[in-house]
């Protein structure tokens, strides 16, 4: 049985932990709102881009003269796996669930004899994957110093990926990130970047006959590389919102657990204090009786 003093110390330490987790929860809530707004603001662009490319790309699908970013290189021996996670922990299973999905994907690829290259965006995913696939990681990009995510951040990553593709370093690129569904639910998602894939159900939208300037192919060639950056950008935005959501939930749980623990400790503290008082009283009474 810990002494009264020990219990008192533990209670005060749990209390200060609770203060910290509560503060972190509130910070996460404020940041979540901003991240959600950013994600919502970025959505129209990505959606329009996807619509237009779906329309344009449908005509080229399966054709031999399709741009490489759409049609692929003709083989799928080398895979690039882009794993986008957060740079900070303390957000529940957010990072590990993305890493787990990526890990399963990598394992499957390796089983079928493909070469895998890994590009980590965010430190946490790197920390997890490093243990298993250190030799395959080509680069780790940390966005830790980035306060507000701008499109240019994503563009840098996109250009890196494109440069690798141009240099023939991989055939297929897949992006792993977490889709933000709600504060309590983020879904780890795999999305193929190169060759580009489009949602088929969006294909039958408008059947307008467009005048293309300069021509369809030139537009497609111009837009496909941009699309890579756009997809990375929206993935990072979703991740940002998801991270804050997960952090908020995790910190809410931690705060509640700390509260439970304080209640329990306080109870046993009071019990012990009471026991001590009773003991002292008995001592005094029995002492008086002996006289």
């Amino acid at each position: 049985m810990p002494s009264l003093k020990e219990l008192k110390n533990r209670i005060s330490s749990v209390k200060s932990t609770q203060k910290i987790t509560r503060a972190m929860q509130m910070v996460a809530a404020a940041k979540l709102r901003r991240a959600e707004e950013a994600a919502a603001a970025g959505r129209p662009y990505a959606e329009r881009m996807n619509e237009v490319l779906t329309g344009l790309g449908a005509a080229y699908q399966g054709r031999a003269d399709a741009p490489k970013l759409l049609g692929g290189t003709g083989s799928d021996d080398t895979h690039l796996v882009v794993v986008a996670t957060a740079d900070r922990g303390l957000c529940g299973g957010f990072n590990s669930s993305i890493a787990k999905l990526a890990r399963d994907h990598i394992r499957d690829l390796k089983k079928t004899g493909k070469t895998v290259k890994i590009l980590c965006v965010g430190k946490k995913g790197y920390d997890i994957l490093r243990r298993l696939y250190k030799a395959d990681i080509v680069e780790m990009i940390s966005l830790r110093d980035v306060k507000t995510l701008r499109y240019s951040n994503a563009q840098e990553i996109g250009e890196k990926v494109l440069a690798m593709f141009e240099a023939g370093e991989f055939d297929v690129a897949t992006l792993f990130y977490s889709k933000f569904k709600s504060v309590i639910s983020q879904v780890p998602t795999a999305q193929q970047l190169i060759p580009a894939q489009f949602d088929a159900d969006d294909a039958d939208g408008d059947t307008l006959e467009y005048d293309y300037e300069p021509d369809e192919e030139a537009i497609l060639r111009d837009l496909l590389p941009r699309n890579v950056s756009v997809q990375i950008y929206s993935a990072l935005l979703e991740n940002g919102a998801g991270e804050m959501g997960a952090k908020m939930t995790a910190m809410d749980n931690a705060t509640r657990n700390a509260g439970d623990m304080i209640d329990k400790l306080t109870l046993s503290y009071n019990r012990q204090r009471q026991a001590q008082i009773t003991k002292e009283l008995i001592e005094i009474i029995s002492g008086a009786e002996a006289l």
């Binding site: 950013a38 603001a41 129209p44 662009y45 329009r48 408008d206």
Partner: protein, 140 residues
């Protein structure tokens, strides 16, 4: 004829502008073109330049870079990687661009080049005016 054209300027970070106006001039890769209501469905890539919006409040200029424009059923959508108003620029940036445009104008040989350079110069000067206007507004 339709009353006007609905213009949407979208950058990856935000919806910059969305309203119905009289006409819009867009810097297509193959030259500037003006879109009014009932324009034929068109899709074009953009070169860096100015989107001029002619609406109720007079002309407004937006600097756009990288992307494309799409006209369909009375709506013009400009998707640009960068879409900025005069407010988003530092004054020195605009001044530098004006000098650059002036140089391009004096170096231009063909009529077309001259036209394009003149247009850029006009655009930057307009942004400058807007920026100054806001400067004065902020000072009060």
């Amino acid at each position: 004829m339709a009353d006007g054209i609905k213009i949407e300027i979208v950058s990856p970070e935000q919806l910059v502008l969305s309203e119905t106006v009289k006409s819009v001039t867009v810097p297509g890769t193959e030259g500037y073109f003006t879109v009014m209501g009932d324009h034929a469905p068109t899709m074009t890539t953009l070169k860096p330049g100015f989107v001029t919006v002619d609406g109720d409040g007079g002309e407004r200029w937006y600097y756009v870079r990288g992307g494309f424009a799409e006209v369909s059923s009375g709506t013009l959508t400009v998707l640009a990687e960068q879409a900025k108003t005069g407010n988003d620029f530092e004054r020195s940036e605009i001044e530098a661009e004006i000098t650059k445009a002036q140089e391009a104008l004096s170096a231009a040989q063909s009529l077309e080049d001259k036209d394009a350079a003149q247009y850029l110069l006009d655009g930057w000067s307009n942004l400058m005016m807007e920026a100054q206007h806001f400067d004065i507004g902020a000072a009060h």
